[in-house]
């Protein structure tokens, strides 16, 4: 292997790793606040790519109508329960209406407009999943929540297939520039992916460290009962966690959709790699998950070069020593 090949592989691995990192962050946020392993995150990623691709092609994506319908159902539910506040009205009436108007009258073929609009359309599916699927079962066992998440994955994959058909689609890249570093061609899109990922991690750090909402989320994550005792609304925290996860998934979809075509069933496997990264972080530690994501990305790239048919075996086999070590450490710490 020449240094050129190694650097090219490293570049590829880091780009994938950045996407896995974003997804791992989303998984960690949701898991720590609500104990849900958010499997359908990968499907949201695919829905985002397909939505933006359809917008850029001049179409009105089916996800918009789905959002409108679900938001209306959520709104009616709030009204029936007598819980209508200014916030629920803004979330489930004004926001979807504004998006529909923007899609209808806005310049949706404009690449940037389409990307922002696509992310804005897919993000609410996070809180909607919480509202309709996970919140009613918030006190269920970890296993029940995981089964619900798996079921939702199949539903969302089916929805993606019905709304967008079985073919893959790509979105316009953020930049088509290519940087030459010696013999190595670094695509501008790869740099953009890594830069946006770094910015987002920084942004999340600030959000959790400096804002009241972020601190409330952290409080819920570290002690659910304690948080409730000091007046933090657990349901509200859950909705926010899901919104964050859906947002990073949608953003990942837009970023990766420019590098590779995404079909309705592509997202699950990407999400799975993010999950491996999150597990390396013990589903608790953000820095460890970040390191795990980069490790998965680079290992995957090198594995593809050496033994392409065994690539996924190599990546998923990584879980065995990690899980063994995590369980040994846990036993040493005196937990069951």
């Amino acid at each position: 292997m020449t240094p050129f090949v190694f650097l090219a592989l490293l570049q590829d691995g880091l780009t994938s790793g950045a996407i896995y990192l974003l997804l791992a962050m989303g998984l960690l946020i949701v898991f720590s606040v609500t104990r849900v392993i958010f499997v359908p995150q990968g499907d949201l990623l695919a829905l985002a790519t397909l939505t933006v691709a359809q917008l850029q092609a001049g179409g009105v994506p089916g996800t918009l109508w789905l959002l409108d319908a679900l938001a209306l159902a959520a709104l009616l539910g709030e009204i029936a329960g007598g819980r209508t506040t200014r916030r629920t009205l803004a979330a489930w009436l004004i926001y979807p209406a504004a998006l529909t108007a923007a899609c209808w009258f806005g310049p949706r073929t404009d690449p940037w407009f389409a990307m922002l609009l696509g992310i804005a359309i897919v993000t609410p599916f996070g809180p909607l999943a919480w509202r309709f699927v996970f919140r009613p079962a918030a006190d269920a066992s970890l296993l029940a929540l995981l089964i619900l998440a798996m079921a939702l994955h199949f539903v969302l994959a089916g929805v993606g297939m019905v709304l967008f058909g079985p073919d893959g689609a790509s979105v316009a890249p953020l930049t088509s520039a290519t940087l030459m570093a010696g013999p190595l061609a670094i695509s501008g899109q790869s740099l953009a992916v890594v830069a946006i990922c770094a910015a987002l991690v920084g942004g999340l750090r600030w959000f959790f460290g400096a804002t009241l909402t972020g601190k409330a989320l952290r409080a819920t994550a570290s002690d659910r009962l304690g948080a409730r005792l000091v007046g933090i609304d657990a349901a509200e925290s859950g909705a926010r966690a899901f919104a964050l996860a859906a947002f990073v998934a949608a953003l990942s979809g837009v970023l990766i959709g420019a590098v590779t075509p995404i079909a309705y069933d592509t997202g699950f496997e990407i999400g799975l790699k993010g999950f491996v990264a999150a597990i390396i972080g013990g589903l608790a530690s953000y820095p460890a998950a970040a390191a795990g994501a980069v490790l998965v990305g680079v290992l995957e790239s090198l594995g593809s070069f050496w033994a392409s048919a065994w690539r996924d075996v190599i990546v998923f086999a990584l879980l065995i020593p990690v899980l063994a070590w995590l369980s040994l450490r846990q036993r040493a710490a005196g937990e069951p």
Binding site: T2, G168, V259, P261, I270, S301, S308, D312
Partner: protein
């Protein structure tokens, strides 16, 4: 006038009652949903153009969806045979489903026409036929083109699944037959998002050309990666990539990619003396009138040819027994095996007791992407 109306009404009523007694039941198993849906749409749409009556017998089509799952296909075939008492099976359209259904159909003596590139084994499964081009035929046509271009070394990249393995096996065979050296076997998964590493590996081996064992839009990945890395050699694919979606997703990066395909996919570009041209043109003109100009696909052609083969065999089978009887099904099988020189939209069928596919190079056309269109190469 009144008498004529009455006569017409009587005729309609008779027509409505008669087929319940004498009709031929054709069971159809397609992958209309699930991962194979992109192709299933084409297979299914052809049934709008099927004959409703052959040799005075009404035909009843019972179309079922196996959801791209061989286990489903098995259950459906079991029901079609045991409960519906079908006289023949069209499909399954999925390779793995064909393999699963084949023993069942043969045990019940129901002739089946597989629509995936299944290689029939008449000695073992006398009731199995296939109307899709065998991969070895398709890939050999591709390799003959390579040979004519003076290509000496080829690197393979394909899916890490059954399809990739099948194309790879056909590639090994064709490479040996043409004296071309195979220098690499790189794999990736359908759902992968990058093949940069595999493309780099291919680049380091400097093959004259690359052969791809993939299908549909995920086939764009290696082409894009190789071109981005500056690979200048020719890139070849199999018929699994020949669809408008491949070009829509691939854009200018896939310009120049060469692949084999079924003649019906480029029916309007076939040479005037191609025997398939008039049949394929007649079918596709009707098909595109209903489904739009962009709906041209090879899969509808396999459904159409399967019924063409069955319809061709029905008159001879009727002399052996009544529809619904075992004698009729055995007669159908014998007549199918005796098919000679039948021109379909996917090629010409010349069956024999040792060849239950019967296609030759007239069933394969080479196409290349030029100016964003699949264009036939003469």
């Amino acid at each position: 006038m009144v008498a004529r109306v009455l006569a017409a009404a009587l005729a309609t009523m008779l027509a409505a009652t008669v087929p319940a007694m004498a009709q031929i039941k054709v069971g159809v198993i397609l992958s209309i949903s699930g991962p194979g849906a992109a192709m299933g749409v084409g297979y299914k749409a052809a049934f709008d153009f099927m004959p409703q009556e052959v040799a005075g017998q009404k035909i009843e089509y019972i179309i079922r969806d196996d959801a791209t799952d061989a286990e489903n296909a098995y259950k459906i075939a079991d029901k079609l045979i045991a409960e519906e008492h079908v006289d023949a099976l069209i499909g399954p359209s999925l390779y793995t489903s064909d393999v699963a259904v084949q023993p069942l159909a043969n045990a019940a003596h129901v002739p089946m026409i597989a629509m995936a590139p299944l290689v029939p084994e008449p000695a073992k499964f006398p009731y199995s036929f296939a109307d899709a081009q065998p991969l070895s035929l398709m890939v050999s046509v591709v390799f003959r083109h390579m040979q004519a271009q003076g290509i000496k070394t080829v690197g393979f990249i394909g899916f890490a699944d059954g399809w990739g393995d099948q194309v790879h096996a056909a590639t090994v065979q064709a490479a040996a037959a043409t004296g071309i050296k195979l220098v690499a076997d790189e794999r990736y998964a359908r759902t992968d998002t990058t093949v940069q590493a595999q493309a780099l590996k291919l680049m380091t081996l400097h093959p004259d050309a690359v052969m791809m064992g993939n299908s549909a839009t995920p086939a764009v990945l290696p082409v894009a990666a190789l071109r981005r890395l500056g690979y200048r050699g020719a890139i070849y694919g199999n018929h699994g990539i020949v669809s408008p979606a491949f070009i829509r997703v691939g854009g200018t990066a896939v310009d120049g990619v060469i692949a084999d395909t079924s003649p019906v996919a480029v029916y309007d570009q076939l040479a005037a003396d191609n025997p398939v041209k008039p049949v394929a043109t007649a079918f596709m003109t009707e098909y595109t009138k209903k489904n739009g100009a962009a709906s041209v696909n090879p899969f509808a052609g396999y459904s159409y040819d399967a019924m063409l083969l069955i319809a061709h065999a029905i008159p001879a089978a009727l002399t052996r027994g009544k529809p619904g009887s075992e004698a009729f099904r055995v007669g159908l099988r014998d007549a199918l095996e005796a098919t000679h020189g039948l021109v379909g939209v996917s090629g010409v069928y010349d069956m024999s007791p040792t060849d239950h596919n019967g296609q030759d190079t007239r069933a394969a056309v080479l196409v290349a992407v030029r100016h964003g269109e699949w264009t036939a190469i003469r």
